[in-house]
Amino acid sequence: MQRIISMLEVKDATIAVGERTLATGLSFMARDGQLTCITGSEGSGKTTLIRTLMGFLPVSSGFVSVDGELLTVRSAHAFRTMMAYLPQQMQMLRHHLSPDSCLHAYEADEYGVWNALMPSAIEEQSPASLSPEEIFQLAQKTLEGAKDKPIVIADEPAALLTSELSLQMLQLLRSQADAGKTVLIASRKQQLVAYADQVINLDMLKR
């Protein structure tokens, strides 16, 4: 694989959700070939920070840049084409793993098409959760399909996995970093925190 240099930088950033400030003066660099772990207690803003780094949320002050280019609402999509993303709620992605699982069968006489009867609104239900094995399978599939993407972002990648699968996930992420990618994860699991090259602890920051 051709080595692509990518560096994700956060400088003097303030992360907030509505009126609530989660972190101020946050600065760090996530470098290629390294596994960077954002950690902190529950509600410390790990997921919010991850979402901010992907351009889903704005920074209140400071900036986020990728390879020196500023991340804005306009540029966010272009940056996300360089990223592979494993979200926190991976277990909710059954319809992504098997797209036809969400389709309904319709009966002919359910309502009269040309008989002026108005049908009822449809209320789609949330999909059944994926098993830990399926979550890992989806993570593998996603990363395999993103071989040319230089940045990997994973939000609590091992939260719903067994300890055995957590280890495999860790190895999978490590292999991404070894391939020269910038790997950024958010996790509270000590197993993952201890394995990271760089740790950003949000509990240590000013609120």
Binding site: H77, V113, W114, I122
Partner: protein, 255 residues
């Protein structure tokens, strides 16, 4: 109004004695509400027919277009109410989607398929009314599927966006589900059309004096028109609703 028509109307109303008699014998409490329902139906039908009569009597293109606009606005209100959505956010998108989708397909059918004067109210009103009714029913299905699927599967949208998909690419699974919610029941109904069901429309055409062959052809045109108008109206509605559904960061707004 001639006396013959009055006599025939009275003779028709006399048939009500059969259900009224049955209710009198078996469920007297319902007699009053049955009577009120009949009166309400007669008044509603009369109002609609007077409106159509006025449209045909004046036969002005602008008047027909205003009527279609009002129909689309009313239908949009029904859609938003049925789908339990915030009407301020989605009413304009549904209204414009219905109006444009129905008008485009309706003009195509009137002008190119049936080759009649497109704004002749005698043709314009029934064709547009039929297309609007069908498109309204289909948009209820399509829009409710789209919005509720986005709510239930918001993670899938974000997952796709996070992996580099554009807003449109990330919406494709939801657009597919929405479109199938419109097309699939229509297909299911078409498979039994004429075998186990005789649609009111076909009966109406036959009652209007057309031969069965002409009724078949007109019915065919109208079925195709209904499907086309519903899909086009839904597509326009979803396109226009996009700004109301998502903020600039791609986050779904409260509906």
């Amino acid at each position: 109004m001639n006396t013959g028509l009055i006599l025939h109307t009275v003779l028709g109303l006399l048939l009500l004695l059969i259900p009224a008699g049955a209710l009198y014998l078996l469920e007297r409490k319902m007699l009053k509400s049955f009577g009120l329902t009949i009166v309400r139906m007669v008044v509603q039908l009369l109002v609609v027919c007077l409106m159509v009569w006025a449209l045909i009597r004046f036969n002005k293109a602008w008047l027909s277009l205003v009527w279609l606009l009002l129909m689309a606005a009313y239908a949009a209100w029904i859609v938003v109410k049925r789908c339990k959505l915030l009407w301020r956010r989605l009413l304009p998108a549904v209204g414009v989607g219905l109006f444009v989708g129905v008008l485009v397909v309706g003009l195509w059918i009137l002008g190119l398929v049936l080759s009649v004067r497109v704004f002749d109210a005698r043709w314009f009103v029934p064709v547009m009314a039929l297309l609007t009714a069908h498109a309204t029913a289909m948009i209820i299905r399509g829009l409710s599927t789209y919005v509720s699927a986005l709510k239930a599967d918001e993670q899938q949208y974000e997952f796709l966006r996070g992996n580099g998909a554009s807003h449109f690419q990330a919406l494709l699974p939801f657009l597919r589900r929405s479109m199938l919610a419109v097309i699939s029941p229509t297909m299911a109904n078409l498979t039994v059309l004429g075998l186990t069901s005789m649609p009111l429309l076909l009966c109406g055409i036959l009652l209007g004096g057309m031969t069965p062959v002409n009724a078949f052809i007109l019915m065919l045109h109208m079925i195709i028109g209904c499907i086309a108008a519903s899909v086009l109206s839904l597509a326009i509605t979803l396109f226009l609703a996009d700004k109301s559904l998502f903020d600039k960061f791609g986050k779904m707004q409260a509906m």
